[in-house]
């Protein structure tokens, strides 16, 4: 093995690869099982975007909070939410992360600092300001990260939160996951500014744009602004330019995309392949080591699906629990 030219240890590289592979396989499996009709409801897949969640979450611990989006599976896995509990939740089973009462768009695990995927676009930004405020009041050096897509970056909640975080000097990082599409609408058309850095500047905070398919670029940029927030330096915005391998939701025929667009992106901008090639070519990791991880992840996903399908549905009495019921 050659000397490691990367800013990440070999252990960290393998961990990052495992996280990204887990997200990819989780999503690819959902794509197949959804098409078969096994999964109820709406599913939005994160495949293609794995480097962003992974590169950011490598800097966080369970005490740090994240607020996710409708496309939240990748954030959950990277933040350490149990894959079996996630799969069971998506299948609506009682063993799910939310005991089957949340579903794909509402997976949460507060013990891991995961404050929930969110079906309302832009809604996580105010919530993470509150999480960061709680960390500030406690003085526990926790930070809050909120994710929005390029689409939800136009929500008033997001823009108000940029201002609030700046005014209160909160330890928040606003991550714009720019995959080029707000559902079916092009980012170039729907976002009025040329660069998210301009928006950050307008709210008096630093903004950074990185190639969100490059794990190292995300990791480096996120590390700097998360450290700054943790040290009381205030909020910042990180734009990750990335690619979406599937539609807005499963079942989306994606007729708004150019013919061959997705195939071209898979061939040229697959973050998982790019990471594997770089670390193998540098001689830091052997291809066999990655293949071993691939096999382990495949087994994990297979077992998660098997367990989810075998798990009991929520008891009928669950309809009326976990909420005050007055009738």
């Amino acid at each position: 093995m050659s000397e490691n030219p990367f800013p990440l240890s070999k252990d960290d590289l393998l961990k990052a690869y495992r996280t990204m592979r887990t997200i990819r396989d989780f999503e690819e499996r959902l794509h197949i099982d959804f098409a078969k009709g096994d999964i109820p409801g709406f599913v939005h897949l994160y495949a293609g975007e794995e480097a962003c969640a992974t590169g950011i979450m490598m800097h966080l611990n369970d005490n740090d909070r994240i607020a996710s989006t409708h496309r939240g599976h990748g954030h959950c896995i990277a933040k350490g939410v149990d894959v079996h509990a996630m799969m069971a939740e998506i299948y609506g089973r009682s063993t799910g992360a939310c005991r089957g009462k949340g579903g794909s768009m509402h997976i949460a695990d507060l013990s891991k600092g995961m404050m929930g995927a969110n079906g309302i676009l832009g809604a996580g930004a105010p919530l993470i300001c509150g999480a960061a405020l709680a960390a500030k009041v406690r003085g526990d050096r926790g930070v809050g990260i909120t994710f929005v897509g390029d689409g939800a970056s136009n929500q008033g909640t997001f823009l108000e939160s940029l201002n609030l975080a700046a005014v209160w000097n909160l330890p928040v990082v606003f991550v714009v996951e720019n995959n080029g599409y707000a559902e079916s609408t092009a980012m170039e058309w729907a976002v009025s500014c040329d660069s998210y850095v301009d928006r950050a500047t307008g709210f008096g905070m630093p903004g950074v744009t990185v190639d969100g398919t490059d794990l190292f670029a995300v990791h480096e940029a996120a590390g700097e602004i998360i450290r700054r927030a943790r040290d009381g330096g205030g909020p910042a915005l990180l734009e990750c330019n990335m690619v979406r391998f599937y539609g807005h939701f499963e079942g989306d025929a994606q007729t708004y995309r150019a013919k061959g667009e997705v195939e071209a992106l898979r061939a040229s901008r697959d973050c998982l392949v790019m990471l594997a090639e770089r670390v193998v070519e540098a001689g830091v990791v052997a291809r066999d080591e990655l293949h071993r991880i691939d096999r382990e992840v495949a087994d994990l996903i297979e077992d998660a699906v098997r367990a989810a399908k075998a798990a009991p549905l929520p008891a009928p009495s669950e309809l009326l629990t976990d909420v005050y019921v007055s009738y």
């Binding site: 949460a108 929930g116 809604a123 919530l127 709680a134 909640t157």
Partner: protein, 345 residues
């Protein structure tokens, strides 16, 4: 020790006592301190009507002025509650709920259920409701039915200083999101209030006047109109029982049903618009569960199905009057069969 204080002072006391008791209680809102960042006095306002005046001097940075960004700071209060604090966020006028309702009904109200019981959101959103302040259509509404409709929210609307103090203390200690509605025309009303801390449990209505002939159910300002009506009716030997709901969700069905089973007559008074409000809700519930006890159809006295008008001459017609309530009571005593929607005007 008990002394006469106003509802405004009682709310201030409740916040002060809970902030002393529990370091996780923080208070935020627009101008709740007042003058932050400006060159004049500290604690310049203490809220637009001075409800939080003086708390900054006692608790410092645990009182936080906010930018005029209801979505952001109400959402921040919700997020902080999900992360272990007990924030009390002032919305100033509950009419502003339209700006930030997503953070309340889609976020705060749903977390506990949607996350499978693994989250709690102990946040209080407090603010002014109600007409009669010459505040016009966007600062005068009684939106309590909207909040009561949402599962996961608890809704409180006190009619006096004693209840306001005990119910706000309970609201702060409750682990669910609470919408705490303060009728702005009751802020100055005084009554005996103990200086010490006490909590009034949710879901316990208060019978303010006993009577065997008719049950009048209300909450907030119109409780006082109902009491006026009862006094007037007593001159004609009509004895009305007046029930103050105090909390709308949870609601004390037992007290309502027990009273109607005794009196056989029901008048429900709600300052809110007439459709899908507390009056329709309670009339329907009694109709379903105590139909046999009713000697006449339930009467509903509400605000009209209009925005709140500005001109004092019109606004005074808007809020249900003691006369309208007394007339509704008389209708239950001699039903004519004529159709009445019982609106204030």
């Amino acid at each position: 020790m008990s002394r006469k204080i106003s509802m405004k002072t009682a709310i201030n006391e409740a916040l002060d006592l809970e902030m002393r008791r529990d370091p996780t209680v923080i208070v935020m809102g627009e101008d709740i301190v007042g003058g932050t960042g400006a060159n004049g006095e500290d604690d310049a306002w203490g809220g637009v009507l001075g409800v939080t005046k003086g708390l900054y001097a006692k608790h410092g940075d645990r009182l936080m002025d906010t930018p005029l960004s209801e979505s952001a700071y109400i959402g921040a209060a919700v997020g902080a509650a999900a992360c272990g604090l007990r924030p009390v966020a002032e919305l100033m006028f509950m009419d502003f709920m339209g700006v930030c309702f997503d953070q309340i009904f889609n976020q705060a109200a749903k977390f506990r259920y949607m996350f499978g019981g693994k989250a709690q959101t102990p946040v209080v959103i407090r603010g002014m409701v109600g007409a009669g302040f010459r505040a016009a259509a966007q600062h005068s509404q009684m939106l309590t039915p909207l909040f009561t409709h949402i599962p996961g929210l608890k809704v409180v609307c006190p009619s006096n200083a004693y209840d306001a103090k005990g119910l706000l203390i309970q609201s702060i200690r409750d682990n669910d999101p609470v919408i705490f509605c303060e009728h702005k025309n009751l802020y100055g009303l005084e009554c005996d209030v103990p200086a010490e801390s006490y909590a009034i449990p949710f879901g316990e209505a208060n019978i303010l006047r006993d009577g065997d002939d008719v049950t009048i159910v209300s909450y907030g300002l119109t409780v006082h109109r109902a009491l006026e009506a009862a006094t007037a009716l007593a001159k004609d030997r009509i004895e009305a029982e007046v029930i103050d709901l105090r909390t709308l969700s949870p609601i004390d069905w037992d007290t309502i049903i027990e009273s109607v089973e005794r009196t056989g007559r029901l008048v429900v008074v709600d300052e809110a618009h007439p459709r899908c409000n507390l009056a329709t809700d309670i009339a329907a519930f009694v109709g379903q569960n105590a139909f046999g006890a009713l000697k006449a159809g339930a009467q509903m006295v509400t605000g009209p199905h209009t925005p709140v008008p500005f001109s004092p001459s019109l606004e005074d017609l808007y809020v249900p009057s003691a006369e309208a309530i007394a007339a509704a009571v008389r209708r239950t005593l001699s039903p004519t069969g004529s159709r009445s929607h019982g609106i204030a005007a």
